[in-house]
Amino acid sequence: MSKVIALATVLPVKSERPESSLPVPLAGERIVTPAANAERQPPAVPIQALSPPVSRARLRAAAIARAIILPGAVFLLVLVVWMLVNAKITSDIPTPAATWARAVEIFGQPFYVAGPNDMGIGWQVLYSLGRVLAGFALAVAVGIPVGFLMGASRDVHQACYPLVQILRPVSPLAWLPIGLLVFQAKDPSAIFVIFITSIWPVIVNTAAGVQAIPKDYLNVARVLRLGKLEITRRILLPATLPHILTGMRLSLSVAWMVIVAAEMLTGGIGIGFYVWDEWNNLNVASIIVAIGLIGLVGIVLESLMNLAQRHFDYNRR
C-alpha cells in the first residue's frame, strides 16, 4: 500500500440528511413500529407506568453532578496516593499542602525578573512557547508545500516517502546534537528540534489530504477551465485544509511535550530548564507546580487548535 493514511487523518464523514426524516420522539413518547407492536401484543404493563417521566431539568442536574463528582473522586484518590507516598516512601516528595503553598508563592509573582537566570514562571512558559511557535511556524511553512507536492505528484511521493517513514519514528531529541553542531547556539537548536518534531505530521497529513481529494472536484475544475492557481486556491487548499489542521494539531501538542525535554538539555530560560533547575535545587514542590502548569498550557494550545479546526473545517461547521 503506497497511500499515506495516518490514523488521525480519518475525518468524520457527515451522513446525508434524508429527504424525509423519521418522526422524532418527544420526551416520554415512544414510537411504536407496527412490527414492534405485533411482537408485544398485548403489553402487560403500560409503558408509562414503568418509566415515569423525568423532567429535563433533573436530567441536566444529574449530568452536571456526574461531571463534577466523578473527576473529583479521582482527584481525591490521587491526593490520597500522593500523601501515602509522602508518608510511607519518601518525604522528599512534599505534601499536597506544601505544594499548594509553593504554588501560591510562585503564581503570586509570575513575572518577576531577578537577573538573567532568575525569572518568574510566567517568563519561563513564555520563552518555551516562543520556541515552540517558532519551530512550529517553520514546520508549517515547509511542511505544507512539501506535503502538497508529495500528495500531487506520484514521483515526488515515491522519492520522499521512504525518507519520511524512516525519520518520522525518531525521537526529535536525537536531532539536538546535530542542531547544536550546525547552529552553534542553544536557542536555534531547540527551535530546530521543534521544527523536526512538527514537520512530519504536517507533511504526512497534507499529502494524505491532497490524495484524498475526490476526483470529481478536479473534474469540476477541468470543466470550468480553472487555471493552476485557481485550482490551488479554490479547490486544493480548501479541500485539504481539514487534513492540514489535523496535522498541525498533532504537531503542536507533541511539540509542547518535546520542548520541555529539549530545554532540560539545552538550559537557558524555559519551563523545561526550570524543572531541571528546581531538581538540582531539590525544590520538588516547584517541579510539581510546573507539571500542573505545563499540562494547563497544553490544554490551552489544544483547545486553540480545536477552535481553529472548527472554524476552517467545512465538515464540522
Partner: protein, 263 residues
C-alpha cells in the same frame, strides 16, 4: 452534419493485464435540442462515452465534433452533472453556482448580472430557499438540483448527465425528472443523459441509445420515442405506446444483452 457528432470512437485503457478495449466504433449523431438517453448494463462503458464527449477522457480512435469543431479538452460548453453531485462542500449553495457563473461570464456580464444569473438558475431548480446552506446540510436530491443549476448556469451547448438520479430514492427521483422535463421544455437544451432506469429513459428522452455489453461495447440499438410533450407519467402509465417502448428497452437489456453472470 449534426450538432453533436460522436464519430467512430474507440477507447482502450492500458491495464496491468494488457490493453482493455472499453468502446469500439461508437457512433452517434445528435441534433440540437434533442434529449438523448444512453442505457446499458452497469460497466458497459456509458460513463466512458460521456467522458469522451466531456473531454475528460481522450478517445483512442475517432473523436467528437460539436458544431463541427473537434472536442479535445473539457469546457463549460459541455457542462457535466456528475452522479455524486460533486458540489464543493466548503462553498454554499449560492457559491457553488456562482463559481461557475464567474468563470464563464466573468468578462461578459457585470457583477450584478452574474448575481442575478446565479439566482435565476437556482430558481429554475427550486433551490432559491437554501442559498446559504452548505452541501453537507441539504439532502441528496437538493444537492443534485444544485448540481443541475451549476451546469445550466454555464449555458452549455450540451448538457451531460451521468446517472444524475441514480443515488436518489424513487420519489425524489420522480420530482427531479419533472424538473428536468420542465427546464428542457423551457430552454430546449441538448441533453445527453446516462441512466439505468428504463422508465426514466422513456419518459425523458427523444431517443434511447442502447449499448451492448462490454468489453468493446458499442451502440446496439437506437429507439425513437415518439410521445407528445409535455409528458405526464401518470397518463403514460396506461399508454400502450409508452409501454411498447418500455418493453422494447427491457427486451434489449434482458434478452439480447443479458449479462452472462445473470444467466
Amino acid at each position: 452534419m449534426s450538432y453533436l457528432n460522436i464519430s467512430n470512437v474507440d477507447v482502450v485503457f492500458p491495464t496491468n493485464n494488457g490493453a482493455f478495449i472499453a468502446l469500439r466504433e461508437v457512433h452517434l449523431e445528435i441534433e440540437k435540442g434533442e434529449f438523448i438517453a444512453i442505457i446499458g448494463h452497469s460497466g458497459c462503458g456509458k460513463s466512458t462515452v460521456l467522458n469522451v464527449v466531456a473531454g475528460l477522457l481522450e478517445a483512442t480512435r475517432g473523436g467528437v465534433l460539436l458544431e463541427n469543431k473537434e472536442v479535445n479538452s473539457p469546457g463549460p460548453d459541455r457542462a457535466v452533472v456528475f452522479q455524486n453531485h460533486s458540489l464543493l462542500p466548503w462553498l454554499t449553495v449560492y457559491e457553488n453556482v456562482r463559481i461557475a457563473v464567474d468563470k464563464v461570464f466573468g468578462k461578459s456580464k457585470s457583477k450584478a448580472e452574474r448575481h442575478d444569473w446565479t439566482l435565476h438558475n437556482l430558481r429554475l431548480v427550486h433551490m432559491e430557499h437554501a442559498l446559504d446552506q452548505r452541501p453537507g446540510e441539504i439532502s441528496g436530491g437538493m444537492k443534485q438540483r444544485v448540481g443541475i443549476a451549476r451546469a445550466l448556469a454555464m449555458q452549455p451547448k450540451v448538457l451531460l448527465m451521468d446517472e444524475p438520479f441514480g443515488a436518489l430514492d424513487a420519489l425524489t427521483r420522480a420530482h427531479l425528472q419533472e424538473s428536468v422535463m420542465e427546464i428542457q421544455a423551457a430552454l430546449n437544451n441538448t441533453v445527453l443523459m446516462i441512466t439505468h432506469d428504463v422508465d426514466e429513459a422513456v419518459l425523458l428522452s427523444d431517443r434511447i441509445v442502447m449499448m451492448t455489453n462490454g468489453p468493446a461495447a458499442t451502440v446496439g440499438e437506437i429507439l425513437k420515442v415518439d410521445l407528445p410533450r409535455p409528458r405526464n407519467r401518470l397518463e403514460l402509465a396506461d399508454d400502450p405506446t409508452y409501454n411498447h417502448y418500455r418493453a422494447e428497452v427491457l427486451r434489449f437489456l434482458y434478452e439480447r444483452q443479458r449479462r452472462p453472470e445473470a444467466a
